[in-house]
Symmetry: C2
Subunit: 143 residues, 2 copies
DNA sequence: CAAATTACTTCGTGCCACGAACAATCTCAA
DNA sequence: TTGAGATTGTTCGTGGCACGAAGTAATTTG
């Protein structure tokens, strides 16, 4: 019981730690946290606004602004969907893709450093549990 | 190697999951994430603006506004420090304290639920690793 | 006591997120 | 086919959050 409490509180603290790290790396790459998160979602394919807002847990109206600003910075473009004239597909520009890779590289480097002191066995177990928790997570949250 | 990568990516995903949960619970308690975090720091004692901004990794000017809004909502008060007339001590009001407890209770409940499916042994190990990573974390971040 | 330091606030800027209201387009069923 | 209803995305107004530069008041230090 007490361990579970410890886990809850530890989880929160780790979350803020990683969150700060995330923001920090974003700074180095001239990306806000929201932008970085969006670029990650666009890594391998174009995505419509509706689907993207679902992925990021954002209202569509929020996403509009986010994409606007990212587009102004040349990270992203809006493309027309030939099958649906209402729809818009958001796509990474080459520059956006480059920024994403820089971000990802630095982020994983810093995260690896965070876990570097762990013995290999413990780290592997940790990763396994991590993935299990994510996989079993009840959808996203209650919207 | 691959496991470490998995750990890094898993860590980020879990972080966002918990972050959303955190914001969600905040909503239920009529607290923003920043407010909730601040209330947690004030749980057991009054804290000056400078120290508080250090804890929350915020510029002082940012904190001024945060405290302003929290004060307007009656969660917090500014008190004079008798030993230093420049200084201000931020303190929870009874109402702020009540909000904090509601928040904490609901948060740990939801987090426990997140880990509920884990076998006890795995959960304990997870908690242990969690705390170890936090303890060894290199200060906060590079400011 | 004068200069440097510290504690906090103010102001201006920009990003982020929400919800309500709206236009354009698409779908489906009568 | 056509008209009601759903879906896609945007605009607008509001509010919160965070930063940095500049400023005020009080304290410390040489």
């Amino acid at each position: 019981m007490k361990e579970t409490q410890g886990a809850a509180s530890g989880l929160v603290r780790l979350t803020f730690l990683v969150q700060n790290l995330y923001a920090d790396v974003g700074r180095d790459c001239d990306l806000t946290a929201a932008q970085a998160q969006m670029l990650c979602s666009l890594a391998d394919r174009s995505i419509g606004m509706a689907e993207l807002s679902g992925m990021l847990c954002l209202e569509r109206s929020s996403l509009t602004g986010l994409v606007d600003r990212a587009q102004q910075r040349g990270l992203v473009v809006r493309e027309n969907d030939p099958h649906d004239r209402r729809a818009v597909k958001v796509t990474l520009t080459p520059e956006g893709s480059k920024a994403l890779h820089r971000f990802n590289d630095e982020l994983t480097e810093r995260l690896d450093k965070l876990l570097a002191d762990l013995p290999a066995t413990e780290r592997d177990r940790f990763a396994k549990t991590l993935n299990r928790v994510i996989a079993e997570a009840p959808a996203v949250s209650g919207h």
